[in-house]
């Protein structure tokens, strides 16, 4: 099949970007979306035009490195990561628009690559349980009810790709923060730092320039790991509790 691509190109963070149009022939429906871009890049290289920069690493949907706005949707039309999207989702003759993640907190590095360091800094502000190596009690010292452990796991599957931010009209990372607060807050090991964790993480979230949550739900619809919207309810609940506790 043949597709027309409209791709955002931008030399670096300081430069102005623009959409460029490319045609790609001989696309196989079995190609992944990123393999289709690989094919385009090989051709550009042969023609002497610098290949398009885009991020990817594991290409099996778990590392969170890839992420493109495809026809205005984070990771494209299916509930998956960009690397797991395949060309059979598209039709011969389609025009596909490809942009980097949209968010003030994720500045463009080059072409389709963005800087998501803000998410690491949110984790630094409290997304952990403080336990030095070697200081842990026996793993069976504290039982964890299965429903709590399962819930913790379900939300711990967040891959930190940033699709929730890119999809949100407010550019909020509330789903990301809520997932971490819920993961650690469900577990007995996470209780000691629960109040300060939520306060500090939300503080850092706002400081980074992410927007506020207005319960639109685009984030959870775009999330390739289907993190549920109610982690944001949990986030608000925990914040109120912390404030009541005078944190």
């Amino acid at each position: 099949m043949k597709v027309t691509l409209k791709i955002w190109r931008q030399a670096d963070a300081a430069s102005k970007g623009a959409m460029h149009t490319y045609e790609v022939d001989e696309v196989s429906p079995d190609m992944s979306f990123l393999e289709m871009l690989d094919v385009l890049n090989e051709r550009l290289n042969a023609q002497g035009e610098e290949p398009i920069a885009f991020d990817s690493d594991c290409r099996e949907g778990i590392c969170g490195m890839c992420g493109l706005m495809i026809n205005g949707e984070a990771h494209g039309p299916e509930v998956t990561t960009t690397c797991q999207l395949h060309m059979r989702t598209f039709k011969d003759g389609d025009t596909i628009t490809i942009e980097p993640w949209r968010s003030d907190a994720f500045p463009v590095v080059k072409d389709l690559c963005v800087d998501r360091g803000a998410l690491d800094r949110i984790i630094q502000s409290g997304g952990y349980i403080s336990v030095n190596t070697g200081a842990a009690p026996d793993a069976h010292a504290v039982p964890v009810p299965k429903d709590k452990a399962d819930r913790a796991f379900d939300v711990a599957t967040c891959i930190g790709c940033g699709a929730c931010v890119a999809a949100c009209p407010n550019g909020s990372a509330s789903l990301f923060v809520g997932a971490k607060v819920t993961h650690l807050g469900e577990l007995p090991q996470g209780q000691a730092e629960r109040d300060r964790r939520v306060v500090n993480m939300i503080g850092q979230h706002d400081h980074e320039g992410f927007g506020g949550c207005t319960n639109i739900g685009e984030c959870t619809a775009a999330c390739p790991k289907e993190i549920p919207l109610d982690v944001i309810s949990r986030l608000n609940w925990d914040l109120h509790a912390a404030l009541r506790h005078g944190k």
Partner: protein, 685 residues
């Protein structure tokens, strides 16, 4: 959840044999030397750090004898750690907690993305929570035997011992392992072994463990003990006065070449399976950090030991960029077959009558059937495809795939039960191939998955370069010639949380070290070499893309240094690699500039190092005229076509020293002595 049949082993010989003879040295005089002329013999290598005495006291003794650096002094001692997977992130966090000044580097945009994240099955630990007779000694035993007696027993025993602490640490960090209704941790059996010792977090154990280590790392960033450098790639090791004193790294966003100096350098940069181009590794996995260290004097050990996983999704076309693994547990219920007749290969498999199908594993290995060990299942799949009986799309002139058929399982168990057991894998398969495995048999093919080889390290995880330590998949130490399922995560975290922090302090106790600055001639030279190399890559301006060279190299490696190796094939492979490498340096085309994000340039540097590694892998495979674990030499097999070890001549670690470009590498042998386990030949009949 992989069916690790390698460990379906006779468990009756647990008696220790402390008087086991040390094997004879390999001498070129008493054995045909296939690799004569390709390498030079060096002096034997002895690990001076391994403690003696009863095996279960060695680690305790080493920890006690390793000197301490006083807390106040640690603020003046610095460590560079390259890589943020399980082995790197855990080490950075732990050394930061101890108060050392740590710099952590990764090529990804966040430490959380390292490829440990993709590990599915689980992590072994000798907790014996099931009361099923597990113990440190049994885990030790299974691991040495699974590694086909090519690992160092002291290291493996230590790994089995600390496995228990790893689980404690991860649970305390909030890793959401699977639990039972009583609130205690669930375990499963990882096929083959007779105990349930595998802890897991659904099919995403690697992800959850890495997030735990990453969070511990980020906590230290906030505490100011660790500084992270993301989108940075190590391109050279800095050595001063014979010691590792830092790295030259490229800021992949600005292109700036940076010098980072420290008292110790730790490489936790993962494995080099991407030398095959197609593998289950992430796109960016590479050998550059370890290869640069190798060129500066760190020996590379057992580079030919490669694990090839039998149940991956096959290649669908020339555009393929990577391969995806599916859990080996599928072999418990799926039946593997190919058509008996070549002319049936492009037919709808449902139209091929039962009589025209060849269930080749069930036919050749009636006792184990579809559950033969990984290496045998992989090799036989290649054999039937080489005969022209492979299925799936033609890629080049070949169909590289075999059917994994659940029709019988669906009839026997019902669709619902199959869905319950394998649903997520079937979904993954459908997502990638667009085919419904409930209706049409799946297609599978083996893929490179893990490398047991890596930089040689002593018991302290220190390489042959003082001050250079190596952890995780990047070192060679614990898995011998074959790694067992659910053991990679154990080794990565064991090295990073518990081994390295206890051994590196002995080295650092010699500090404070002489201050060096960026103007030191050795530092300036290392930096100049990096700049020159980048400049060279950007100015060749030939006709071929980096990927086209990488793809061709991968094809050579797969063909001649893959699942089945022969002397003739390996020599041909070496010739082909040499001429391709020569063409690369004359004809590669890398566009863009050095002063910006340039993914072609990054790849070019990595592929350049893969050429040199690939040649050494072939030489290592050529010199080792035996079959063991992930190394099968056609010349060394039993009448039944099974791997035949040669303990008399090859019971050693092959540690290779780099010579000047164009000169043959030098082989140093570290002889393996077993005092706590008796060597046995494995059998699956």
């Amino acid at each position: 959840m992989t069916a690790e049949k390698d460990t379906v082993l006779d468990m009756t010989d647990l008696t220790q044999s402390p008087e086991a003879d040390s094997p004879e040295a390999h001498s070129p005089d008493d054995e045909p030397n296939d690799a004569a002329g390709y390498y030079a013999d060096g002096t034997p290598l002895i690990d001076k750090k391994t403690p003696t005495g009863p095996i279960d006291e060695r680690w305790e003794n080493r920890k006690f004898n390793a000197r301490l650096a006083a807390p106040a002094n640690r603020r003046n001692l610095s460590v560079i750690i390259v890589g943020t997977g399980l082995a790197g992130a855990s080490a950075a966090a732990t050394l930061g907690e101890a108060g050392y000044v740590v710099k952590s580097f990764c090529y990804q945009d966040s430490p959380r993305r390292a490829h440990s994240i993709a590990a599915q099955g689980g992590i072994n630990a000798a907790k014996n929570y099931k009361g099923d007779g597990d113990s440190v000694h049994r885990l030790f035993y299974d691991t040495v035997k699974g590694g086909d007696y090519r690992s160092r027993e002291s290291n493996v025993d230590r790994l089995a011992e600390i496995s228990r602490n790893i689980i404690d640490q991860c649970v305390a960090q909030g890793v959401p392992f699977a639990r039972e209704y009583g609130g205690l941790l669930d375990n499963r059996s990882f096929g083959g072994v007779q105990v349930s010792r595998t802890f897991y977090a659904r099919g995403q154990t690697g992800q959850q463990l890495l997030i735990g280590a990453y969070q511990a790392l980020e906590r230290q960033v906030a505490a100011g003990t660790v500084e992270t450098f993301t989108r940075h790639e190590m391109l050279e090791l800095v050595m001063v006065d014979g010691k590792a004193r830092g790295i030259i790294a490229r800021d992949m966003v600005t292109g700036e070449i940076e010098t980072h100096l420290a008292d110790v350098v730790v490489l936790a940069s993962g494995g080099y399976g991407n030398v095959y181009f197609l593998s289950t590794n992430a796109m960016g996995c590479n050998v550059t950090a370890t290869w640069r260290a190798h060129r500066k004097g760190a020996y590379m050990a057992n580079p030919c030991y490669t694990q090839i996983h039998p149940t991956c999704i096959p290649v669908s076309g020339e555009h393929q960029s990577k391969l995806t693994l599916m859990s080996e547990s599928l072999r418990n219920d799926g039946r593997i077959w190919v058509p008996k007749n070549r002319e049936d290969c492009d037919k709808d498999p449902r139209d091929i009558p039962e009589d025209d199908r060849d269930y080749y594993l069930e036919r050749i290995y009636p006792a184990f059937g579809n559950l033969v060990p990984r290496d045998i299942a992989s090799r036989q799949a290649k054999n039937v495809c080489d005969e022209g009986r492979g299925v799936g799309p033609l890629v080049g002139d070949f169909r590289r795939g075999v059917y994994l058929d659940f029709t019988e399982a669906i009839e026997r168990m019902g669709k619902e039960a199959v869905e319950e057991k394998y649903g997520n894998l079937f979904d993954m398969y459908a997502q990638i191939t667009g085919e419904d495995p409930y209706e049409v048999p799946m297609r599978i093919y083996p893929a490179v998955h893990y490398v047991m080889g890596g930089l040689w390290v002593d018991y302290d995880l220190q390489s042959t370069i003082p001050g250079l330590f190596v952890t995780g998949e990047a070192n060679f130490s614990d898995h011998g010639a074959n790694r067992l399922g659910a053991s990679a995560l154990m080794q990565g975290l064991g090295d990073g949380y518990f081994v390295l922090p206890n051994t590196v302090r002995d080295y650092l106790a010699d500090g404070p070290f002489e201050k060096i600055d960026e103007d030191h001639p050795d530092v300036v030279a290392a930096r100049a070499a990096v700049e020159q190399r980048i400049n060279k890559l950007l100015t060749i301006n030939g006709d071929r893309s980096v990927d086209s060279f990488h793809r061709e190299l991968g094809h050579i490696m797969w063909e001649y240094c893959g699942m089945e190796r022969t002397a003739e094939g390996l020599r041909k492979g070496i010739d082909l690699i040499r001429s391709l490498r020569e063409e690369f340096w004359r004809n590669v085309k890398v566009l863009g500039s050095a002063e910006s994000l340039n993914q072609s340039l990054e790849k070019a540097g990595r592929v350049a190092d893969f050429f040199e590694l690939g040649e050494l892998m072939c030489i290592d495979a050529l010199h080792r005229r035996e079959s063991c674990g992930g190394h099968f030499r056609a010349e060394s097999q039993t009448e039944d076509g099974e791997a035949l070890r040669d303990d008399e001549h090859y019971s050693y670690v092959a540690a290779w020293e780099f010579s000047d470009d164009g000169e043959p590498p030098v082989l140093h042998q570290e002889h393996l002595v077993y005092t706590a386990i008796e060597m046995k030949q494995r059998s699956y009949k």
